[in-house]
């Protein structure tokens, strides 16, 4: 078995695993009924799902004999930016009070999202 065969098989396997996680993420998005629990499903798609798909792309480029490492960059940027968007969706949910009200923090008076001026 040559290196390119192994890389192709690896790419196929990571495609399967990645799309499996994307599928589970979508199922979760449709199944859960609360905005906050629904937020948990896309975080899975954004990490393992996309990660495995990019790994497949990396392995496929290796198999073709023209190695590419752009995928590592995509993964790095995605891992840095994904929590920010999740955080903003959570903040909107808290701000519009469409979820259960969170418990008060221990030291400070309130959460920064709920800390709005009265007027």
């Amino acid at each position: 078995m040559t290196l390119s065969t192994i890389a192709t098989l690896g790419a196929a396997l990571s495609l399967l695993i990645g799309s499996g996680f994307v599928l589970v993420g979508v199922v979760g998005l449709l199944k859960f009924d609360d905005p906050m629990t629904r937020l948990h499903a896309p975080t899975k798609v954004g990490t393992m799902g996309i990660g495995m798909l990019l790994l497949a792309s990396l392995l496929a480029s290796l198999a073709k004999g023209e190695p590419s490492i752009h995928e590592l960059l995509i993964m790095a940027f995605l891992f840095v930016t994904a929590p920010v968007s999740a955080n903003f969706i959570a903040k909107v949910t808290i701000h519009r009070r469409t979820c259960e009200t969170p418990p008060a923090p221990q030291k400070d008076s309130t959460w920064s999202t709920l800390d709005t001026p009265d007027t």
């Binding site: 199922v27 891992f79 929590p83």
Partner: protein
């Protein structure tokens, strides 16, 4: 000599990251690209120096590397865990919870890394910071024991981050 070094590399880590990202973007490791990456890595930190006046004084690269590997492993493990919850646990039996994590880390950078880590490991999403920055609000998808999750995050991630940004 030290002054020249400080003038050229006000933020050595940023210089390194910029050079590496530039080479990766080119998808081509040649001497010219490396040199151009280092030039970018010297110019950009000098121009943007105004925006990071209070950056952490010490940053341990080696510990950050092992921390990243640990987080990657945790992402894989908890992904499988959450996928199992999504498939098997019906909505009525799902027990989501808010947990409040009192923060010991004080650097904004360290809090950002901690919040990012919490969100990246599926099953927990960091939702909000308290108004003075002393607590972090985290939402857990399904747990029987919220206190255990809080202690786990504090022991596993925050303790290491305290060492990295000490």
């Amino acid at each position: 000599m030290v002054r020249v070094y400080n003038w050229l590399f006000p933020h050595p880590l940023l210089t390194l990251i910029l050079a590496v990202v530039w080479v990766l973007l080119q998808n081509d490791v040649t001497a010219g690209m490396v040199v151009f990456g280092i030039i970018l890595g010297i110019i950009i930190p000098r121009i943007t120096a105004v925006w990071w006046p209070d950056r952490p004084k010490s940053f341990r690269m080696g510990k950050m590397f092992t921390y990243s590997l640990m987080v990657l492993w945790d992402i894989v493990v908890s992904n499988i865990h959450v996928a199992w919850i999504v498939i098997t646990v019906p909505n009525a039996k799902l027990r989501p919870a808010w947990i409040v994590i009192p923060l010991d880390v004080k650097h904004p950078e360290a809090i950002t890394v901690l919040a990012g880590t919490i969100t990246l490991t599926p099953g927990t999403v960091s939702a909000d910071l308290s108004s003075q920055g002393n607590s972090l609000l985290v939402h857990v998808l399904h747990t029987d024991d919220p206190d255990a999750v809080r202690d786990d995050i504090k022991n596993r991630y925050e303790r290491r981050l305290l060492e990295i940004f000490s």
